[in-house]
Every structure is written in structure tokens, then in C-alpha cells.
């Protein structure tokens, strides 16, 4: 039949490079960050087995001891092992930050899609709320929230879940606006698809790479947010350790036990930097030019 187009698809399947080859070709800084993050993840997941001592058990005879064979990083002001506490603190900080990332992303996606897709007054209201969150420093808002609602961990968690949702929302909203005009999306409408179906089956999948990048950028800033609050004393409360609270508590002992501050601080810096590097790398590689 003359109408047959019997030629093979124009582009051949590109053979995928093997996974390990791709890993080996990464920049050194990315490799380093990946290693650190894997080690840290391991440590935090298996914290109970990894720590040499109970991070909550004080030993008043051994307060503020310098590093020794027994306590690799020394002890803190009431004799708890610094290394163990640091490891647990990583878990706390990372846990809270992760929770914040997921909930902020979720809220951001919902609001972004609603604003971009429904438009009209919904969009105006949501955009105004987004502008508000940009205008007012979130730290202050959180402090006010803590003052009103109390210094409980649940308060911290609820407030963190609203941190930085506006970044995601604005990003998603912009993408939704541009995607709405794309013929592939219109085709779904033309086929009789309902709005929700278009939003979740067509628009959302096209947002995944942007959202992943956004999440990886959010993570370090949330760690810092939680640490700041805990440092100030309004974040997690003792005896729970977070990196920030340890730095805050260790502030008073900078002269005679600097490790108390340095250990969590350096850990935090390392984690944040590693995630920054990874986030940049994800963004670079996911800048996929859909080759046509």
C-alpha cells in the first residue's frame, strides 16, 4: 500500500551506557558527595547499632573530657559521648528536614497546580499568599508560631512543613501555565479528558525533573532552618539532640571543649555542601534536551 511508511523509526535506540561507567565518569566533587551521603545515610539508619555509647546516658564523672580511645570525640557537658550524640543528631536533623521537604513539596505542588490550572480568582489568591510568604521572613513567622503554640516538637514539625512551599508552588505554577499551551496537553482535553486527569496524568509527570531538583535544593535550606531554630533554643528540646541544638548548647563551652561545637557544626556544613553539590549535579543532568 502506497501509504505505508515502512521505514524504521528515524532514530535507533541509543545503547545506554552501563551504570558503573556513568558513576566513574562523574566529577570528583560529586563522587565525594555521594560517598559521604551514603556513609551518613548508613550511619543514621543504623544509628542504634553504630553508636559506641548510649547518647542519652550521662556520666557526671567524665564531663567535658577530650577525645580518647573510649570517647572518640570526647564527652559533653554532662558526660554523654559526643560522637554518639552527633550521630543521633544527624538523624534528627535530617529526619525533620526530610519531612519538611516532602510536605512543603506536596503543598507546593497542590497549590501550584490549582493556581496554574484553575486560574482566575484561585490563581490570584494563591499568588498573593505566595507573595506574602516571600515578603515576610519565614524565620520570624516560625518564631512567632513557636511563641504562640509552645516549644514542642510537634509545633516545630508543623511549622517546618510550611517552610519553602512557596518556592515549589511558584515553580509549578509557571510550568503549568506553559504546559497548558502545549498541543500534547490540549490533545488530552480534545479527547474528552477531565481536568483532573489532565493535571495528574499529563502535567504532573512533566514536572518531575523540576520537582526533583527543587527538592534537592530545599533539603539543605531546611536543615539550616531547623538548626537555626534549635541553636536559638526554640527548636528541638533537650534531651533530643539535633545538630543545631548541640551547637547551641556547646556554645558555652567553646574554650574548654570546642569539639562540642565543632563536631556538629562541621557535620552540618558537610551535609549541606554535599547536598548542594548533588543538587547542582541533578539539575545539570536533568536538563534533558528532549532530542528531536
Amino acid at each position: 500500500m502506497e501509504n505505508q511508511d515502512s521505514t524504521a523509526p528515524a532514530k535507533a535506540h541509543v545503547t545506554k551506557k552501563s551504570f558503573w561507567k556513568k558513576i566513574r565518569e562523574l566529577r570528583p566533587s560529586v563522587k565525594f558527595s555521594l560517598v559521604i551521603i551514603i556513609v551518613l545515610s548508613f550511619m543514621t539508619i543504623f544509628a542504634e547499632w553504630v553508636v559506641p555509647h548510649d547518647p542519652y546516658e550521662p556520666d557526671l564523672l567524665f564531663r567535658n573530657k577530650p577525645p580518647s580511645l573510649q570517647n572518640v570525640l570526647g564527652t559533653d557537658q554532662i558526660g554523654r559521648d559526643t560522637l554518639s550524640r552527633t550521630i543521633y543528631a544527624i538523624r534528627t536533623s535530617v529526619g525533620i528536614a526530610l519531612y519538611g521537604v516532602f510536605s512543603a513539596t506536596f503543598i507546593g505542588i497542590m497549590m501550584g497546580i490549582s493556581a496554574g490550572f484553575i486560574g482566575g480568582w484561585t490563581d490570584r489568591i494563591i499568588s498573593s499568599i505566595i507573595d506574602f510568604f516571600y515578603a515576610v521572613p519565614y524565620l520570624l513567622m516560625m518564631l512567632v508560631g513557636i511563641v504562640i503554640l509552645g516549644r514542642e516538637t510537634w509545633v516545630l514539625i508543623v511549622l517546618i512543613s510550611f517552610a519553602r512551599w512557596h518556592d515549589t508552588a511558584r515553580l509549578v505554577r509557571g510550568q503549568v501555565f506553559s504546559l497548558r499551551e502545549v498541543p500534547a496537553i490540549e490533545a488530552a482535553v480534545a479527547l474528552g479528558s477531565s481536568r483532573w486527569r489532565v493535571a495528574f496524568r499529563h502535567i504532573l509527570p512533566n514536572l518531575t525533573s523540576i520537582i526533583v531538583v527543587d527538592m534537592s535544593i530545599k533539603f539543605p535550606s531546611l536543615i539550616l532552618l531547623e538548626s537555626t531554630l534549635s541553636f536559638l533554643g526554640v527548636g528541638v528540646q533537650p534531651p533530643i539532640a539535633s545538630l543545631g541544638s548541640m551547637v547551641g548548647a556547646g556554645r558555652n563551652y567553646l574554650i574548654n571543649n570546642p569539639i562540642l561545637c565543632l563536631a556538629p557544626a562541621l557535620t552540618m556544613v558537610t551535609i549541606v555542601m554535599c547536598f548542594q553539590v548533588l543538587g547542582d549535579w541533578i539539575r545539570d543532568t536533568s536538563d534533558v534536551r528532549y532530542s528531536d
Binding site: M1, E2, N3, Q4, D5, S6, T7, P9, A10, K11, H13, V182, P183, A184, I185, E186, A187, A188, V189, A190, L191, G192, S193, S194, R197, H202, P205, N206, Y290, S291, D292
Partner: protein
């Protein structure tokens, strides 16, 4: 009987009455003046079952907007669109979604009209999925059947759009549009983005399919020779209004509207022994934000007189089936 050899039903499948579509462009600052683009103005048209209506015009003519507004992909600003007797502007969303099975569209850009993350099989069967038609196996069979109908191998259903050329992608788009067995198809510049040799393939395909499935088609294009080849009747649009509507033979050989005449003279002929200086229209196409008063074509019309600015010419039937909107005819 028409040239397709099928009995053309004289009941119109689509009727528009005084259809208008205006876009208000968003202003940057609240309260500042907004521009209104009068994309489609007062179009009344009936499309007969089984015919192929060509819609031609240049930029700003509103032909694409008209096609999309008929399908309710854009909501009309005013006026009525009747599909098979039902007023599309007043039915509920659910009813409209159900009706969409009967009216489909093929878009211009082969690269942007297919979802990159879905494979060809899913793309084609999406309509079936939306309207919950057929079991998984039935859908698979239908996809293979449709791929065959558009001239692609059935194995292609697992591939992804980026593996295909422009012409092949348009075939996939056509397969998708046909999956729900529509009666009405809008081809919005469906071949304009394709290479010449591929264009001819897809043109032949559309002609064959419209005959085989008894489709009523609106073929939107700026390419007059393609439109002449494929259409039964042709409507010429300028700045949102229909200037002339006639069957193909009449329009191309005995055009009465000055714009149609100028348009036909401006088309280069593929014959080097027919070289004459083009008799050109002076000036540029006005912006649809501020169309001229009265007859929108008067600013470039060689036959314009003072009265042309006073009143918008009505579309008059100067001979059976031949409508012209011009007071000088």
C-alpha cells in the same frame, strides 16, 4: 453525489451562528488598558456531513481560532456552535466530554503534539482509556488496527515519539484522533510543518481516511494549492471574518471577493514559463487588536470606496452556494 463518490448528506453536521472569539491579553499591571484581539468575528457557517471544508487565510485571519472554537477547545465569546443539532455552548461539561468522542483534531506541530513520556500505544489508546471503552486486549487490537490504517507497523506501539520522524508522528496523531471513531475532524495546519514529500503522503492519507470513514473534515491551511487539492468547499478568512465561501471550482476559478482574487494571484505557480510580476497587495495585514472599521479588508483593497468604512458587509449568496462579503460585488 459529490466528487468523493459518497452521497453527501445535506444536513449540516456543524452550524455556527454569529460566532465570536475575542482574546483579552493580560495586562502586566492591574488596571492598565488591556488589548482585545478579535480573533473571530461574527462567523456563521454550516458544514455538511461528509464534506471537506478548506479554511484558508493568512496570519491573523482567525482560521485556527475558528477551528478550535468550534471544538470548544476555546470557549466562544458569543454566538452558537451546533454539533449534530446540539448547542455545544450550553451543554454541561460532562456532556461535552462525552461528545468529544465524535469530534477530533490533528495539530500542526508533530513534535509538540505527542506526549514524550507515553509510548505510541498508550498515546493512541488514551481516548479509549478516558471513555472507558474496551478491555485491555481489545484496546491493544484497536491500536494495532489503527497503526495499520495510518500506514505504520504494529510493532511501533511500544516505541516512544522521539524515535519517529515528523511525518510518522503526524500519522500517530491521526491514529489517535481516529481511535474514538469521530464523525468530525479538524486538521489544523496538519501538514504545514512537514517536508514536501512527506506532506504529500499525509495529504493522501487524510483524503483516503475521510473517504473510508465518511469523515467530515475542516482542513485549515495557509497553503492554497493544498487546500484546492483536498477540499470540496473553501472559505477564505481575513482578520476574523469570512470573506468568501464557495465550492472549490468556483472559488479558484471565479473568485469574486477582491481579497480572494489577490490571494490567488499572490500564490507562486510551480511553472517557470508562467512568470509574471506578481500583482501585489500593498501594505501589511493590520493587527487583529485594532481591525479597521467597516470592511476589515478596505485598507488594502483595490476596489475600496468610502462606504466600505461605514458598514461591515453582509455575506450575500450571489449564486447558489457562493457567498461573498463585499459591497462592491
Amino acid at each position: 453525489m459529490d466528487q468523493k463518490g459518497i452521497l453527501m448528506d445535506s444536513t449540516p453536521i456543524v452550524v455556527t451562528k454569529n460566532l465570536c472569539k475575542w482574546h483579552t491579553s493580560r495586562s502586566l499591571f492591574y488596571g492598565s488598558k488591556k488589548g482585545v484581539v478579535k480573533a473571530v468575528q461574527d462567523v456563521s457557517l454550516s458544514i455538511n456531513t461528509g464534506e471537506t471544508l478548506g479554511l484558508v487565510g493568512e496570519s491573523g485571519s482567525g482560521k485556527t481560532t475558528l477551528g478550535r472554537t468550534i471544538l470548544q477547545l476555546e470557549k466562544p465569546t458569543s454566538g452558537i456552535v451546533q454539533f449534530k443539532g446540539r448547542d455545544l455552548t450550553t451543554i454541561t461539561k460532562k456532556q461535552l466530554q462525552a461528545l468529544r468522542q465524535e469530534m477530533q483534531i490533528v495539530f500542526q506541530d508533530p513534535y509538540a503534539s505527542l506526549e514524550a513520556r507515553m509510548n505510541v500505544g498508550d498515546i493512541i489508546s488514551e481516548g479509549l482509556d478516558i471513555h472507558k471503552l474496551g478491555t485491555k486486549d481489545e484496546r491493544r487490537e484497536r491500536v494495532e488496527e489503527l497503526l495499520g490504517v495510518v500506514g505504520l507497523a504494529p510493532e511501533y506501539s511500544v516505541r516512544y515519539p522521539h524515535e519517529f520522524s515528523g511525518g510518522q508522528r503526524q500519522r500517530i496523531s491521526i491514529a489517535r484522533a481516529l481511535a474514538l471513531n469521530p464523525d468530525f475532524l479538524v486538521a489544523d495546519e496538519a501538514v504545514s510543518a512537514l517536508d514536501i514529500s512527506v506532506r504529500a503522503q499525509v495529504i493522501n492519507l487524510l483524503i483516503d481516511l475521510s473517504k473510508e470513514f465518511g469523515l467530515t473534515m475542516v482542513f485549515i491551511s495557509h497553503d492554497l494549492s493544498v487546500v484546492q487539492h483536498i477540499s470540496d468547499r473553501v472559505a477564505v478568512m481575513y482578520l476574523g471574518r469570512i470573506m468568501e465561501l464557495a465550492d472549490k471550482e468556483t472559488l479558484y476559478n471565479r473568485p469574486k471577493h477582491p481579497y480572494t482574487q489577490a490571494l490567488l494571484e499572490a500564490v507562486p505557480k510551480p511553472d517557470p514559463s508562467q512568470r509574471e510580476k506578481f500583482r501585489v497587495l500593498s501594505g501589511d495585514i493590520p493587527s487583529p487588536v485594532n481591525p479597521p472599521s467597516g470592511c476589515v479588508f478596505r485598507t488594502r483593497c483595490p476596489k475600496a470606496i468610502d462606504d466600505c468604512s461605514a458598514v461591515v458587509p453582509e455575506s450575500r449568496e450571489i449564486e447558489p452556494g457562493h457567498f461573498v462579503a463585499c459591497i462592491r460585488v
